[in-house]
Structure formats: structure tokens, C-alpha cells
Assembly symmetry: C2
Homo-oligomer: 298 residues x 2
């Protein structure tokens, strides 16, 4: 049974598997990406390939976007030939990109002007979560719209309504603060231990079993011990999220010294060419600062 047309914009490492789940879930997906090769791959999955945003969204009941950053969302929705210039009134717009809450609200307000309701619905869970349809979806907007979008969200993971427009992006920013500081805490613990001659495996073992436990240590601790920084979630994306966090803090008047420091440490990752390593590789920055290398086991 066909459930209707979804216009899907942005077929990257996150968007492509998400579009696949919507296709398997019975939707017609009209797919657009800046890179024609990505559109071709979506066609192979069963999507209708589109050459423009307007082609992808003009007959859609729902539009979903999954693009890298705030300026991309601005361009996709508000730019020339963008979503708002092509979409039918009443179409439900869902931006699932991780962007600034301020931009999310701005775009939602512009959408309301053209009689399109909009939700911000950024996700966490990374590439694995997208492939396995186990994303955590943080939704900002009206409750009735959230209910309308639930059948779509349920094909992609688990959704939570966080509050009015922009709130999904705020909670995503909060999530990324906590994850970054959990990773940096683990990094400084491991480096202090290494400098003092303690086996990093003991540190992970003891900390994991007690009050210091974190999910990121459960998942990534054993891989750090092997020197394995395969993403997961790439450092350059966490750096981007930390940019958003700082912008958001500035916009709302929050002073967040540890997040500011995290931003600088992830900036060092990019400066060192480590942007495509998993974000747990921030330990390499602490190793560098301390002129030490964690001992690695095969």
C-alpha cells in the first residue's frame, strides 16, 4: 500500500539509509541531492530521482531534509528554487539536519508564512543508527504536527517531542555537549593514567564498573585500547555541532566554559587532519598536548 509522497532532500551517509527505510515502509520517495551520483544510488533503492528541489517537493505530502549545516538548510528552504517556492500549502516540512535552533525557528516561521507547518527533528545515533533505523529523534514543534509525523519517525527510530519550534535542535545541542565532555573526560583520564604508568585497560575496567560509567566509554573504551578510531561519528561533525552549541549559547545568553573548551579541542582535531576519525579520537589531542602515546594492544 502506498502511503503517499515524501520529498527527500539530502542523500548523504545519513539521508541515504533513512530514505531507504521510508521506501521499505511504503512511501513514494522523490529524492534530490546536490550530487547526481547520490540521486542515482537512491533510484537503485527504489526512489524517484529528481533533478531539482522543486521537482522533489511539488507533489509531496511531506518534505524531509537531511543536509549538513544551518546555511544548507537556509538555502534548501529559503533559497531561489528552494522548498518554500515550490511546495503545496499544507505540506508538512520536517528538517532532520542538526542545525542552530535559531535558524530552525527562522525557517519554520518563513514556512508558516507560506502556510506550511514545520518540525525540527534532528537525530542522534550516527551512521549506524541511520542504517539500523535506531535513531533517537528530538522533535521541536506543535504536538498535533508531531502526531502527524509519528508514522514517518517510527520507520527511522524513536522520537520524543521536546517542546515548541527549535526545541529539537536545542536538545540535540545539549546531547552533543554531554557526549563531547564524556569523551574528553575519558581522554584526560586515559592520558593521566598512561603518563603515570597505569594500564589503560584497568582504567576503562574500573571506571566503567562504577560511578564514572558512560555509554560512550562502554562503546568506545575497548576500541580506544586497540587504537581503533573508525567512525562511528566523525570528529568534524562533532566540531560542527560544537560551533552550533557556541552560537546557540551566544543567542540565548548561556555561558558554557567547558563546551567552549570542547570546541577548541575539536578544532585541534581538524587542524591535525583527524576530522574523519571517530569523535572518541579527541584523546589524540590530549596525547599530543601531553607528548604521550597510549599503549595500544593488538
Amino acid at each position: 500500500m502506498n502511503k503517499g509522497v515524501i520529498g527527500f532532500i539530502g542523500l548523504g551517509i545519513m539521508g541515504m539509509p533513512m530514505a531507504g527505510h521510508l521506501l521499505k515502509g511504503g512511501y513514494t520517495v522523490k529524492a534530490y541531492d546536490l550530487q547526481p551520483a547520490n540521486v542515482e544510488r537512491a533510484i537503485i533503492q527504489g526512489a524517484v530521482g529528481c533533478k531539482s528541489i522543486s521537482e522533489a517537493v511539488s507533489t509531496a505530502a511531506i518534505v524531509i531534509s537531511m543536509v549538513p549545516d544551518s546555511p544548507d538548510v537556509e538555502k534548501v528552504y529559503l533559497g531561489e528554487g528552494g522548498v518554500l517556492s515550490a511546495v503545496k500549502p499544507g505540506t508538512l516540512l520536517i528538517d532532520m539536519s542538526s542545525i542552530s535552533p535559531v535558524m530552525a525557528k527562522r525557517v519554520a516561521e518563513a514556512a508558516a508564512q507560506t502556510n506550511c507547518p514545520m518540525l525540527d527533528a534532528p537525530v542522534s545515533g550516527g551512521e549506524v543508527g541511520a542504517r539500523e533505523a535506531r535513531l533517537s529523534i528530538m522533535v521541536g514543534g506543535e504536538a498535533a504536527l508531531y502526531e502527524r509525523a509519528l508514522p514517518v519517525f517510527s520507520l527511522l527510530g524513536k522520537a520524543t517531542l521536546c517542546g515548541p519550534s527549535g526545541s529539537g535542535q536545542v536538545v540535540k545541542a545539549c546531547n552533543q555537549i554531554q557526549v563531547a565532555l564524556n569523551l574528553i573526560g575519558m581522554s584526560e583520564a586515559l592520558v593521566l593514567g598512561a603518563k603515570a604508568g597505569v594500564d589503560p585497560e584497568i582504567i576503562i575496567q574500573v571506571l566503567s564498573a562504577g560511578y564514572a560509567q558512560t555509554r560512550v566509554m562502554d562503546v568506545r573504551g575497548p576500541r580506544i585500547l586497540k587504537g581503533d578510531y573508525t567512525p562511528g561519528f566523525r570528529s568534524r561533525f562533532h566540531y560542527k555541532d560544537l560551533n552550533i552549541i557556541r552560537e546557540t549559547a551566544r543567542a540565548y545568553g548561556a555561558s558554557l566554559p567547558a563546551s567552549a573548551l570542547a570546541h577548541e579541542l575539536y578544532s585541534a582535531m581538524l587542524a591535525n587532519g583527524w576530522g574523519d576519525l571517530d569523535h572518541s579520537a579527541v584523546v589524540k589531542v590530549i596525547e599530543q598536548l601531553s607528548n604521550c602515546e597510549l599503549p595500544v594492544k593488538a
Copy 2:
């Protein structure tokens, strides 16, 4: 069956219940504290009250110390009338205080000179862990000594041998880095959310269910939502541990920028008179910086 004499020095909020577990476990406990009132309370529990360190340790097979900080341990063991001046050769010395690894090694070396083997064995788990005999005990020293001490440790919680002398203190320091940064991450997430108008309960709910999860959030998140900062683990003790962490980092040549920041934020807690609140109250420093108050539910 009497298992022998333990000289126990330091009957504070941690030491008192620990001494109680040793008494219940069949040891004779000869108890000393700087405050006579604490010795009186230990006598009520069944201990032999002592008026000096030398009285407490001179007939002991094992000496355990649980005192506030590095200078206290130095004085208890190396000072005039201290443990090393009064103890029988061969007595097993176990310092369970949380102190600098450098001091732990120094005292152990001095103990070796007087033919007493020594372990450093700091704990995590706080007042509740001490009362419920569920401490995590991080042990530094020789494996044979660790085995010899296990019957005692098993009455207090779960022990892990972390490496040679000083390693227990190193792992404790690592643990306190991770816990501090987990708490600060939660604090900055909650304050950013509050400033942006998102319900803190939603933030705790979403973050706890995903990759951002931490044990401290599981335990303390719901209490922060109620404005409940009853310790748990007092901020002034975490500040003390952060002092140790910075000293240790300096001694071993580790550069730990986030731990240094954590140290300053806990310093602000003491400056504001919040040292006896639970260490999760570091959120109050972030609230203060951001001129905001988290909404509190009854």
C-alpha cells in the same frame, strides 16, 4: 572467630562505617581519630578506643588509614608518634584515603624502610558505598600484598589491583576526572536548555536514553530536577580531588585542560559556600555564570 587486630585511623563519614564492617567481619578494631567524640562512637560500635596512633597500631597485624588529604597521610605515617614509629615490622599498612599518588609512593617507600609492606587503596562510592559495603577499591602495590588484603577489602566492597605502588591513587584520580566532566557536561546541557526554554526533564529523559547516558545522570539527574543537592559526595571533596589531579598531572607531565577547568568550577563552588552540597551542584556555578535558574519541580 577473631581474625586479628586492625589498627584503624580516621573515623570520619567514610572511616566510621568501614570500621563497623570490619568489626562485624570478625576483626578486633583498635580505633583512633583526632576527635575523641569519634573514638567514643567507634567504641559504641564495638571497637577498642585508642588515645594515640601508637596505641592503635602497636599490636596490629594490619593498619588501615582513612583521612582527608595528602598532608594528613604524611603526618599519620611519617610524623612524630606516627604509624612508622610505632608499628611492628611486617605489619601490612593500607592507606584508603584519596591522596596524591606521589605522596602514596613516598609513604610506601618510607614504610618499606621500616620493613612494613604498604598498599594504596582509595575508594569510590561515597558515604552510601561506605555504609552499604559497596565501595569500589582501587589498589596499588604488589600482587602478593593485594591477595593478603583481599579478606579485608571484601568486607568493604569490590577491589581491583591497578598496578604497582601509587596506581590505586592514579586510577582514583582518573575516576574523579571522568565524574567531574560528566557532571559539568550535564550542567551545561541543562543550563543551555533552560536558557532556550526547554523543560530540563525532557533533556534528562532524552540524554539518558541515548549515547549521552552517564551513571551520574541516572543517579543525580532526577534529583537536580527537584533542586535536591543532598550529598552523596560533597563538592569540597571533589575540589580536593581536583587539586590532587592537578598536582598529579604536573608531577607526571600530563596537560589536562578540561580537568583544569573543572578545578576552577569546583573552586567557584567553595567561593560561593556550596562546598557541602553534592558535587552535582556544580550546575549552580553554570547557572550563576549564565544568570539563570533551572526551573524546579516539587
